[in-house]
Subunit: 339 residues, 2 copies
DNA sequence: CTGAAAGCGCTTACAG
DNA sequence: CTGAAAGCGCTTACAG
C-alpha cells in the first residue's frame, strides 16, 4: 500500500455502487442506511483500506476533533498525572489531545493562545501560571478555553481547588503538631515572581499563622524558582546555612517538598522528629518518599472530567457566562508530620 | 470578535487589494513578494485578525504539521520526561504534538496505529511495550513511524539504548560491591508478560550473573505488573515475607526502584548497608530519593532529537531502508550502592 | 433511504 | 512579481 494513493469516499462509493453521500452516511452514522447497503459499503472500505481524511472533514464542518492541553512543564509529576487523566477522559469522549508547554516565561501563554496552531483545535485547556498575564483578556479571539487552577478572573470557565483554604488547613495541621517556626517554600511577595498558586497558598499560610498568633517572618518565606525539586533542595540548603531556626516546612507543591526532604536528609535533620514537612497535590511519589508526605489531595480524574465538560459546553454555547467548578480537597496526613 | 465569522484569505486579499494567491505567498513566505505589498497584506491580516485555516492547508498539501507521540503511561516520570523533550524538540522544528496512551494492553498499540485519527498526523513516535505485538507489520498502511526503545525488528526506524548491555553493567556493579543474592525486579520468563525491555534487561542481568559464576535463582526474578512504584513495593514486601534471602535488588526502571526503596525502608532494611538497590533511566527523582539511586542514565534530549530526525527523514523518503540509532548510556553510581 | 451539486479555505500549476 | 482557475476530500442543504 505504501506509495499507492489513499482511497477516498469517491473510490469507496464507486466500488460499492453507491454515491459518496451514502458512504458518508455510513461513516458518520448519523442517518439510517439500509443494512445491505451498509454491508456493501463496509466491504468496500475494508478492501480499499479506507480512512476518512480528517482535514477534509475538519474543513467542511469546522471542527477538528482535537483539543489542546497547555501545561507549564510536562516533566513535572503533577503535570504528568493531570495530562494522563485529561488524555484518558478526552479519548473516552472521542477527542484527540495536542500538548503544549508554556514554560516559565509568562509571555508563552499569550503567544501560544494567539498562535496559528491553536486554531486547528476545537478548544484549549490551560493550566496557567500567572494571574494577570493569563491571556484571558484575548478570550474573544480564542477557541473555547477552560482554565485549571486558581486565577482571579471571571472571563473564562475554570476548574479550581480552593488553594488558600487548603494551604491554611495544612499549615494549621503543622501548628497543631507543635510547630511555631514554619518555613513556606513557594511563597513570594515580589509581584514579578508571584503566581496564582504562590499568592493564594502564601495567603492561606499566613491566615493560619495569624489565627495562631504567630508573627510571620520574611526570612522563612522562600520562593525557589523554578518550582522544581532541585531548586527547593537548594533553597533549604540556603535556609539551613543562614542559621535561621525552623521546626516545619510547608512546601507549596509535592515536587518542592521532595527537594525539602532531600536537603534535610543531607543535613542529618530527621523528619518528623526535628522538622515537620508538608507538600501539596498528592502526587504518587508523596506516598513513597521517606518519610511519606503529608499533603493536600484532590481527585485529578474529577478535575479532568469537569474541565472537559466545561469545554464541551463552551464549544456549543460560545457566549454563555463563565462558569466555575470547585473540586474538593482533603488533608492527607502521613509520616512526614508524625502521624 | 466572538461569533463574528473568521476572516479568510479572500477577505484579506480584498482589503489589501491583491489576489488570494498573493496573500498565500506572504503567509507561506516561499515566494518573494514586493515589500510594499507585504506590508499592505500584513496590515490587512492584523486588522482582520487573520489566522490561516490549517484544515484547509492540510487538505490541500496533504500535511497537517502534527505528529503523534504514543507512550504506555503518561503519568510515569520516565514518560513525562521523554514527552517533555519530544515536545520541546518538535516545537523547535515547527511541529505540533498529539499524545496517545497505549496503556498496558498490547492490543492498544495496533488499534491506535490503525485508527482513523492517526491519519490526520504526519508521523508517529511510538514507545512500544511488546515485541511481537508492535504493530510494525502494518507499517505499509501507516504514517511514518519511529520507535523509541528496544524492539527486535527491522521494519521501522528506531532509536535504542543497549538495554541488555546496560543491565549487565549495572548488575556487574552490584556484584563488584559484594552482592551475590541479587533480586531482579521486572524480569519475566512468561512470554505472555514479557516485554522488550523486560526480556533484554533480564538477559543482561543473567549475563552478569553467569560471568561471575552465580547460579540464577528463579525466586529472585519477579515481575510486578504493571511496572509501577506501588506494585514494585508490593513485590518486595512479598519477597521479604517469603523468607528468600537477598543482598541486592536490581530494578529494571527507576519507578520500580523507588517502590523497592520504600518497601525496604518499611521493613527496616537499610540501603546500602543491608541491601544494595539500583534503577534504570535516571529520572529526576533518582537523584532525590533516600538514598539517591545508582542507575543507568542516557540523554533523553538526544533521544528526542534522533527520533525526530529519523521521522523527518522518513516523511520525505518513505521507502528508504529502516535506520537504527543507538544512544549511549552510562552507569551512574550513587548512595544506594554505597558509593 | 439515496443522488447531484455546491462549497469549506487553502495552494498548486498555468499564465502573464 | 501577481491573477484566475481548479481541486484537495469531505458534508450540508436540496431534491427525489
Amino acid at each position: 500500500m505504501a506509495g499507492r494513493a489513499r482511497a477516498t469516499m469517491k473510490d469507496v462509493a464507486a466500488l460499492a455502487g453507491v454515491s459518496p453521500k451514502t458512504v458518508s452516511n455510513v461513516v458518520t452514522g448519523t442517518v439510517f442506511v439500509r443494512p445491505e447497503t451498509v454491508e456493501r459499503v463496509e466491504a468496500a472500505m475494508t478492501e480499499l483500506h479506507f480512512v476518512p481524511n480528517l482535514s477534509a472533514r475538519g474543513l467542511r464542518n469546522g471542527r477538528s476533533g482535537t483539543i489542546a492541553v497547555a501545561l507549564p512543564d510536562l516533566a513535572t509529576p503533577y503535570s504528568a498525572e493531570l495530562l494522563h487523566d485529561l488524555v484518558e477522559v478526552a479519548h473516552e469522549r472521542g477527542l484527540a489531545v495536542q500538548v503544549e508547554e508554556t514554560g516559565a516565561e509568562p509571555g508563552r501563554e499569550v503567544e501560544l493562545l494567539s498562535r496559528a496552531r491553536a486554531h486547528l483545535i476545537d478548544g484549549l485547556i490551560l493550566n496557567p501560571i500567572r494571574v494577570e498575564d493569563s491571556a484571558v483578556e484575548y478570550a474573544d479571539h480564542l477557541p473555547p478555553v477552560v482554565l485549571i487552577g486558581e486565577v482571579e478572573q471571571r472571563v473564562t470557565d475554570h476548574v479550581i481547588v480552593d488553594s488558600r483554604a487548603a494551604s491554611r488547613d495544612i499549615t494549621r495541621h503543622v501548628i497543631s503538631r507543635g510547630a511555631r517556626r514554619i518555613a513556606a517554600i513557594g511563597g513570594d511577595e515580589n509581584p514579578e515572581k508571584e503566581t496564582a498558586a504562590s499568592r493564594l497558598r502564601l495567603d492561606g499560610y499566613r491566615d493560619a499563622l495569624r489565627d495562631a498568633g504567630i508573627e510571620p517572618d520574611p526570612r522563612l518565606e522562600i520562593n525557589p524558582l523554578p518550582w522544581t525539586t532541585p531548586s527547593a533542595a537548594a533553597a533549604v540548603d540556603g535556609l539551613i546555612a543562614s542559621g535561621v531556626e525552623f521546626d516545619a516546612v510547608v512546601a507549596f507543591t509535592d515536587t518542592l517538598a521532595l527537594g525539602v526532604l532531600h536537603s534535610l536528609a543531607t543535613h542529618g535533620k530527621r523528619v518528623p522528629d526535628d522538622v515537620l514537612v508538608t507538600g501539596f497535590d498528592d502526587v504518587e511519589m508523596a506516598r513513597f518518599s521517606s518519610p511519606a508526605l503529608t499533603t493536600i489531595g484532590f481527585d485529578l480524574r474529577r478535575v479532568a472530567e469537569e474541565a472537559l465538560s466545561l469545554l464541551n459546553r463552551r464549544m456549543t454555547e460560545r457566549t454563555a457566562p463563565a462558569r466555575s467548578v470547585t473540586v474538593p480537597y482533603e488533608l492527607i496526613v502521613r509520616a512526614s508530620t508524625g502521624d
